[in-house]
Each structure stands twice: as structure tokens, then as C-alpha cells.
């Protein structure tokens, strides 16, 4: 176990962590601003992967164009789901949860019907591996890392500095006060939903060529997202980033040094956080 081994473990953790950040950030955003646990988020991720698959493999679209198109398609889907299914239950806590679960089941079931259960894959876009400080990283993964960083930077920038981004933060902090200031709550929610879904779609598009695509991706993704945002703090983007990276590193080191017990670690962390600091690392109570 030499230095390059540890670098590899670290790099693996970074990659895994950024994957989780990509998936969890949109989930956290929705909770922060809309106070909704959007269980369908994982299904949006899955559909983003399928959209990219269909565009690239069936229609021969260029990969990057496919990714952008997928983001747009999923964003539109997110808006539709919000308008027709989430908005009617906007302030009812338990019904919102149930509806989100129902939508998740519906999308998952429809995807299974339409696409079948077989794993599909996208022809590799980038090939080859490079060595970074002795650790191996495939070109595909480098692209994912770069895109993830860009997307997270863009998101953070947007929330902090743009007018609509600030409106979102206002709505998240105090909905009534924001409304009194003339901020349209509904339009803010719609925008939030669109961005969150687009992020999920982007995650799906980015990870699809690395792995494979099937209708079962959603459940696993949303469970990871839940763990990440609980640890990082529901509703906080820095929290989602910190939580995602933390989970990635824990899993990488866990799988390497602790073995099979790693599966339970994520949930134990969740329990610890919820018992001792329920608002998570970066959340606000």
C-alpha cells in the first residue's frame, strides 16, 4: 500500500463524491426552497440518462448537444410535474410526500414499460486513461469531474448573485415576507423545479456513458441523494457539496479498507446527524 494507492483511493472518493453532489444538489435545492422531498428526483436522473441514450444512440446526436437537450427536456418535465401534481398540494406536508412518491413510482413504472429492463449503453465518447500523480483516471471520468465542478460553480454563483437566485433564497427564508416584497412565489417555485430537474438530467447525461442505463437507476440515486442532503443539511447547496464529497470519501475509503460493512456506514452517519445535529453540517435548523 504505497503513495499511489492512497492517491487512487482519494481520487476514487472524489469521483464518487462528485457523482453524489451532482445528483443531490437539485434534491437539496427543491427542499430548501419548496420544502418538498422530491422522491421523483431520482427518476429525473434516470430519464436524463435515457434521453441522452436515445439522442446519441438512436438519433446520432452529438454527445454534448444531447446532454444540453436532455437537460432542457427534463427541465420541462419538471415544470409539468410541478404544475400538475405538486402545486395543488403545495403547503400540505404529508400529501406532498405521498404525491412525490406516487410520481416516482409512476415514472419508474412507465420507463420500465417503455424501455424494458435490459441495460443499455452509450458508445464511449472519450476513451483512454491518464495518470494523475500515479492514480489512474479514465478520460470519461475527468470530463465528469470537470463538468460537475462547472455545474456546481454555476449553480452557486447563480443562487448567490443573480436576481432570480436571490429571489429563491428569499422565498426559502421567509415565504410571506418574500411575497410581500413582490416576489412571485409560484414562478420562483417553477424556476426552482426547472433548475433542479435540469441538474438531475445533467447528472444522468454525464454518468450514462460511464456506466449503463436502465429504469432502475432512479431509486438508488434518490436514496443516495437523501443521505447526502441529510448529512449536508436539507436545503443547503454548500451542504449538498460537502455531504456528497463526504459520502464519496467515506465510501471509497470504506470499500477499500473496511470491506462489506461500508453499506451500513451511510445510514449510520445519517442517524448520527439526525440525532445530534438534525440540521446537518450546513443547514439552518
Amino acid at each position: 500500500m504505497d503513495f499511489t494507492f492512497f492517491v487512487q483511493v482519494f481520487v476514487n472518493g472524489l469521483m464518487l463524491g462528485l457523482t453524489y453532489v451532482l445528483i443531490a444538489s437539485g434534491f437539496s435545492l427543491i427542499y430548501g426552497i419548496m420544502r418538498l422531498l422530491n422522491f421523483a428526483h431520482g427518476e429525473f436522473y434516470m430519464l436524463g440518462a435515457f434521453a441522452t441514450y436515445l439522442l446519441c444512440e438512436r438519433l446520432g446526436v452529438n454527445y454534448f448537444a444531447a446532454m444540453v437537450l436532455s437537460m432542457i427536456i427534463i427541465a420541462v418535465l419538471g415544470i409539468l410535474v410541478y404544475r400538475f401534481f405538486y402545486r395543488p398540494f403545495r403547503d400540505q406536508h404529508d400529501p406532498s410526500l405521498v404525491i412525490a412518491l406516487g410520481i416516482a413510482m409512476l415514472i419508474g413504472g412507465l420507463a420500465l414499460l417503455v424501455f424494458g429492463e435490459k441495460d443499455k449503453s452509450i458508445s464511449p465518447v472519450f476513451s483512454g486513461v491518464i495518470k494523475v500523480l500515479g492514480a489512474t483516471l479514465s478520460m470519461e471520468r475527468i470530463v465528469v469531474i470537470i463538468m460537475a465542478v462547472i455545474l456546481m460553480a454555476a449553480l452557486t454563483f447563480y443562487i448567490k448573485f443573480s436576481k432570480t437566485g436571490q429571489a429563491m433564497r428569499a422565498v426559502a427564508q421567509d415565504r410571506e415576507a418574500a411575497a410581500l416584497q413582490g416576489i412571485g412565489v409560484d414562478s420562483t417555485f417553477t424556476l426552482c423545479m426547472a433548475i433542479s430537474s435540469a441538474l438531475a438530467g445533467a447528472a444522468g447525461a454525464l454518468l450514462a456513458p460511464l456506466f449503463f442505463v436502465n429504469p432502475f437507476l432512479g431509486m438508488h440515486a434518490v436514496l443516495k441523494a437523501l443521505v447526502v442532503v441529510v448529512i449536508g443539511g436539507l436545503g443547503s447547496i454548500p451542504g449538498a457539496i460537502a455531504g456528497g464529497l463526504l459520502l464519496g470519501f467515506v465510501e471509497s475509503f470504506g470499500n477499500t479498507f473496511l470491506g462489506d460493512i461500508t453499506e451500513i456506514l451511510g445510514f449510520v452517519m445519517v442517524m448520527q446527524v439526525l440525532l445530534f445535529r438534525p440540521q446537518g453540517l450546513f443547514g439552518h435548523g
Binding site: L112, E117, D119, F211
Partner: protein
């Protein structure tokens, strides 16, 4: 007196249930029909295997019905199969068995790849003396107290008993092996078999780890594995998509040894996910029916399959042909439709003629009861994206 709304509500409830109570109408015809049941994962996860079984069994069913049906003591019976979906879920499988046994009154059931389904269904089939022909990889499925259950497909135990000696013979320089399995029922039981059989064949196990189901990034696990310098890696228990990913990621990380799995795979999909170059040299239990070592029976199966199902040919299907093939032989040999008599015939017969050549039941020593089919194990290698048959070996199962 106004009748309360609750009263109407309850009447409505009872009526809904009542409609349901009436058994399904069946048309009687002059043709004699033998109804059998089949419980397989036909949708959702695992449907690949269930649908493969369905295709193979249908090929045999059409063949038998094409020649007039089963010959039972001079009378001809057409075969009708009632397919139920267990969704790879024990509770659903059990409900399906309830319907088949108690509603449809079948006496023969072909069943699932999920050991949980089989274990949940056996408490219904065994006491009712229903012949249950199964798959799955779990050892507990075949025990001396369950005489009506026969396993019709090779498990990892038998497959690896064929493949590991072959590895010894073909690659004598390989000494160390590493295992990667998913954290689920089949992963666990397969790993036990892998370890035992590898050691029986003088291989040293240098690494064995389970991964969380749903994982697609195996870098952390493989990183640790590669450091142990295994000569080859066995991931028999992993589902096909995961296997392809593991191969791809192994090669990305610079692993140069052999990859191996005691399962059947579809070479097109495998190479698509893993990458053709990465998949080069992968050893598996798949058989190219158009290649070497193919029997006449397998060639006929191929033609029949194409005539019924059309392109593309699914290389995973042939092993499921045995279900109906052997049952038909057993019924015709015993001259009876009584499951107990058919069971006794199956116990007594020493050899069966199948598309794979001669086959028999074994396993008294390993399982405690002679209920495991033993057929030749096929070994192939992926070369340039195609399957190349490398050999066949008959495992011994006393």
C-alpha cells in the same frame, strides 16, 4: 328507515369481493389438455432470465403440441402453460403459486430463478405433492424433506466444478483468484461455491469482497483488488450489466489478468457496455450454438427458436429447454399424469436424452437428495467481440 351509508358501503365491498369469487370459466373441448404452471420474473428486474426461460420452454411446447401433444399411456394431451409473474419477489411468487395451485389446480409448476420465491412456494407445493421444477443458485432449495422439487438448471456449484478444472488444464500458470460478488442472496451462495471449488482445484483466493447492489462505480473495490495481484477474477454472482462494468473498469485501472464468470452472457450487450477491447479474453459459461462442440440437438433448438421467435438469437435460453424437455420425457415414460408417479420415474431414470446430449440427476452427496440435473458445462471466450467456444466438461456430482 333510511339504510345507513355504511351499510351500502359494506354491501359494495362484499359484492366487489364476490365477483372475484367466481372461478374462471373454462371451455371444454374434445381435445385433452394438460395444464401446467410457470412462475418466473417476467417483468421488472430479472425479467431477462424469466423471459429467456419462457422463450425456451415455448420452443419445446410448440414442438410437442406440433406432434399432437404428450403421449400419456396411449392418449394425447396438448400442453397448456399458465405463466405467472413473480417479479423476482418472494411474496408475489407465493401469491402466484396460490393461484396456480388453488385456482387453476395445476400439478406441475416450472419455476423461478429467485431462491426466495422457491423457498416461499415450496411450503405450498410440497405438502400438496406438486412437482416443482426450479432454478436458482441456493443450496437450501434442494433438501431431503422436499422430494417434489427438482432443479433443472446448473447452479454455480456444478458450473464451476466444470470450469475450474478446465482453467487448470488450459491455463496451468494461473494460481491466484479474486472474487467480486454483489451483496444479495445469490451473491452470497455463489461466493461460497466459488471459494470451495477454487480451493479444491488448488487455486489460492487472494481477495473476496461484496459490493452494494446498485453500485456502478467499482473503482474503490477494484483498486484494492488489483493490489493483491490475482491471476484471474471471478464475478459469477454479479448481474450481467455489472459484470461488463467491472471488466471495463478493471481494464481502465490497468489490470492485465484474465476475467472469468460462471454465467451465460449476451456478447453483444456485454461488449457494448464493457468495450470490445476490454472484453477481449473474457471467459464465460456461454455457448455459441453455431460454433464448435455443438450437438445436433442444439442445432435443432437453434432452428426451432429462430422459426418461432426470430432474430436475434438469445444465447441465454438453451439451458431452460431442459424444464419441459425432461418433464415431457418423464411423463411419457411413466405413462401417468400423477405427479407422484412422475416423480418416481424421475428418481429412477439413470439417463436422459437432451439437446446437450446425455444428462442425469445427481447430488445425493452434496444436497442430500438426488434432484440436481447434471449436463455438460460449456466454456467460451470472447475474441474480437465474438464468442469462441473453447470446450466442454461434464461436472461430477455424486
Amino acid at each position: 328507515m333510511r339504510i345507513s351509508k355504511s351499510f351500502w358501503r359494506m354491501i359494495g365491498l362484499i359484492l366487489t369481493f364476490g365477483i372475484f369469487c367466481f372461478p374462471s370459466l373454462s371451455f371444454s373441448s374434445s381435445e385433452k389438455v394438460l395444464k401446467m404452471g410457470a412462475i418466473f420474473p417476467l417483468s421488472g428486474r430479472g425479467a431477462t432470465w424469466g423471459l429467456a426461460a419462457q422463450k425456451a420452454i415455448t420452443v419445446k411446447q410448440k414442438e410437442v403440441n406440433g406432434r399432437g401433444g404428450l403421449n400419456v399411456g396411449g392418449e394425447k394431451y396438448k400442453i397448456e402453460i399458465i405463466w405467472e409473474d413473480d417479479k423476482y419477489n418472494a411474496a408475489a411468487g407465493r401469491m402466484a403459486a396460490e393461484k396456480l395451485v388453488n385456482r387453476d389446480k395445476v400439478k406441475f409448476i416450472h419455476g423461478s430463478q429467485s431462491s426466495a420465491v422457491i423457498l416461499a412456494v415450496q411450503p405450498i407445493t410440497e405438502p400438496n405433492k406438486i412437482l416443482f421444477l426450479v432454478n436458482s443458485y441456493a443450496k437450501e432449495v434442494l433438501t431431503p424433506d422436499k422430494p417434489y422439487t427438482f432443479r433443472m438448471v446448473l447452479t454455480s456449484n456444478e458450473i464451476l466444478q466444470g470450469m475450474y478444472p478446465w482453467m487448470n488444464k488450459t491455463y496451468p500458470s494461473l494460481k491466484n483468484v479474486a472474487f467480486v460478488e454483489p451483496n444479495d442472496a445469490s451473491g452470497w451462495s455463489i461466493e461460497k461455491d466459488c471459494k470451495r471449488i477454487a480451493e479444491q482445484n488448488q487455486f489460492q483466493v487472494v481477495f473476496s469482497q461484496f459490493y452494494e447492489r446498485g453500485t456502478s462505480d467499482f473503482y474503490p473495490l477494484l483498486n484494492k483488488l488489483i493490489v493483491q495481484k490475482p491471476d484471474f477474477i471471478d464475478f459469477t454472482g454479479a448481474p450481467p450489466g455489472d459484470q461488463a462494468l467491472i471488466v471495463k473498469q478493471l481494464r481502465e485501472l490497468g489490470y492485465k489478468g484474465k476475467t472469468f464468470s460462471g454465467t451465460t452472457l449476451d456478447p453483444l450487450e456485454f461488449c457494448k457496455i464493457a468495450g470490445v477491447q476490454n472484453a477481449e479474453g473474457h471467459i464465460s459459461n456461454t455457448h455459441d450454438l453455431l460454433g464448435a462442440y455443438t450437438t445436433e440437438g442444439q442445432k435443432k433448438y437453434y432452428d426451432d427458436y429462430m422459426a418461432i421467435h426470430g432474430k436475434p438469437f438469445d444465447p441465454v435460453t438453451p439451458k431452460y429447454h431442459l424444464y419441459l424437455d425432461i418433464l415431457v420425457q418423464a411423463i411419457e415414460k411413466s405413462g401417468s399424469l400423477d405427479p407422484t408417479q412422475v416423480k418416481e420415474t424421475m428418481e429412477k431414470m439413470e439417463e436422459w436424452h437432451t439437446i446437450f446430449g446425455a444428462a442425469k440427476f445427481g447430488g445425493k452427496e452434496h444436497y442430500g437428495i438426488k434432484r440436481q440435473i447434471v449436463t455438460p458445462v460449456y466454456i467460451s471466450e470472447i475474441v474480437n467481440g465474438n464468442l469462441v467456444n473453447r470446450g466442454t466438461m461434464l461436472p461430477s456430482l455424486p
